[in-house]
Each structure stands twice: as structure tokens, then as C-alpha cells.
Point group: C2
Chain length 141, copies 2
DNA sequence: CCTTGAAGCTCTAGTTACTAGAGGTTTTAT
DNA sequence: ATAAAACCTCTAGTAACTAGAGCTTCAAGG
């Protein structure tokens, strides 16, 4: 039985974010005090921590919504079916993560090259600006 | 002298995106035909390609706006000062890229671990769901 | 009991970089 | 002359929050 402020502190999640999760249906509508303030229980804290942990691991809210359904936190007991679906979502996330890494690595190489060439140009014809103006000068994409 | 459609085709940029860049001031307001349709020239194409190339390299629009100012495309001639500023922006971008890579790599490791542990669990206590519910089970963050 | 400051409430709007669609006009080609 | 393609403006939607205005409620001290 705690207020939204306590819930926020216990979950490392900001108050407006908690209300936002409620708005979009990720958190259930909590009961209210006589004066209309939200009251939460332990179950809500577990659910919110699950959501935040999912976010830290890079899942989007839609995926987290599905994962919650597969978990015991969404009142239907979890079973083997659900576990397999959860794994499928995690695999998609992993693949997306690898492809982002690959893309960022090629960008980093390109940027490094620009900067190195800047240093080596003796009349300093700035390679950052030159390359941006002309994609032909790129090596990696 | 070409229409917005031709400009889009020549720059691999969608039409609404071109109008959006105009709205936010990244592209100058073009002159118009008698019937109010936009007319562009070669200069606009160079500028738009610069912008798009910057986006492909991961710069945000604010950084690209600055880079444009430093470049010869923004009618003030480029000079050494400008080159140094351009390099500074590229260095910031490079650092941000490396830190994103590092973060994604730790996430990928965590996801891999979850999936491996799922496979190894003989009663299949789904580790994806377990880990999400309990950050203590994480190794990497 | 009363007061005051902290915490909570709702609602709106802003962030980033676009994208989609409605409903109307102009161009281009036959 | 007509019809299709391209263009116009304006609004709103995307993801996941965050900030602020203006008002109400709660908790603690005197
Ligand atoms: Zn340079
Ligand atoms: Zn390139
Ligand atoms: Zn599993
Ligand atoms: Zn964790």
C-alpha cells in the first residue's frame, strides 16, 4: 500500500512515466484514496519493475506488453506455450540488437576515416565536410 | 530546374521529408511556379544530398544544420575555423556511436545468456521471463 | 485545530524525424 | 478537352516519455 511517489522511488521510474504506463494500459488502473490519489500494492511494483527491466534490455513497450502476458504477473499462469513465445520475442530483440551494432560499427569506421583524413590533409581540405558533400568518398556504405 | 518529385528521386528522399526540411529551415524556401508548385535547382540538390548523407552517418538534424553552415553550401565560404568546428561535431558523433555500441553489446550478451539458460533449464523455467522479473539474475548491468 | 509545504491530481503540449491521409489544384500528355 | 499523374496545404500519428500550469489533498508541527 503505497503512493505513486513511493512506487516511483522503489522502481527507479519517474512519476509521469507511471501514469503514462497506466494510460496506455501497461499498468492496471489502481484503486484510489478518498481524495483521489493512486494507491499501489506489491504486485504493481513487481509489474513495474518487470516493465522497466524490459526497457533497460531494449525491448519496446509492445514487446513488453506481450512478455507480461506470458509471465505469471498477468494473472494467467505461465505455461510452456508462453515460454516459447517469450523466447521468440527475445530472439527478435537479439537479432535487432546485432543489426544495430553492425550498422553503428560501419558508421564509426566511416567517421574515424573522415577524422584521420582531416589530420593528414596538409592544406586541411576538411574531409568531414568533403565526405558529407560527396558520398563517393565513403568507404563503408 | 526541377519539381519536388524529381528532387526526391535524385536524392533518395521522400517528398514529405523535403517539405519537412523546408518547414524547419534546413532547406531554403524555393521559388514557385505560376501554379504554386516548388521549383528547385542544382544547389538545392547538393544541399539535400548533404543532409541525407549526414543522416545516414547518424548525425541529427541540429548537427547537420551546423555542418551546413560550416560548408561551402551555406554561401559563406568555409575556412579553417569552420573545419575545426566540423571536426568537433564529428568527434562528438563518433563518441556517441561508440557508447551506443558498447551498450548494445552488453544488452546482446544479456539476451544471449537468457536464451542459453532457457535451453539448459530441464524443467524449462523460462529464463527470459525469470530474468525480466528479477534483475538480480542479470550478469551484465 | 490549523496551517503550511510537500506531494498528488488532470490536461496540454513538446521532444525527434519523419510519414500518412484527406481533400483540393495544377501539370502533362493524349 | 479530358483524364491521369503530380502537386498543394493541413492535420494527425508514430515511440516513449517529459515538462509545466493550475488546482487539490495529505502529513506534520505548533
Ligand atoms: Zn577537417
Ligand atoms: Zn556515404
Ligand atoms: Zn524460456
Ligand atoms: Zn538486468
Amino acid at each position: 500500500m503505497f503512493s505513486i511517489g513511493k512506487l516511483a522511488a522503489a522502481s527507479h521510474c519517474k512519476i509521469p512515466t507511471i501514469r503514462y504506463y497506466e494510460d496506455i494500459g501497461l499498468l492496471p488502473t489502481p484503486r484510489r484514496s478518498a481524495g483521489n490519489q493512486r494507491i499501489y500494492g506489491d504486485r504493481d511494483l513487481l509489474r513495474l519493475r518487470f516493465i522497466r527491466h524490459g526497457r533497460e534490455l531494449g525491448f519496446d513497450l509492445k514487446a513488453i506488453g506481450q512478455l507480461l502476458q506470458f509471465s505469471a504477473l498477468d494473472h494467467t499462469a505461465s505455461n510452456h506455450q508462453h515460454s516459447h513465445q517469450a523466447e521468440a520475442i527475445a530472439k527478435v530483440q537479439l537479432a535487432a540488437t546485432y543489426s544495430r551494432i553492425a550498422r553503428l560499427q560501419s558508421l564509426a569506421e566511416e567517421l574515424e576515416l573522415m577524422l584521420v583524413n582531416c589530420d593528414e590533409s596538409n592544406d586541411h581540405q576538411c574531409q568531414v565536410l568533403e565526405v558529407l558533400a560527396n558520398h563517393q568518398l565513403c568507404q563503408h556504405h
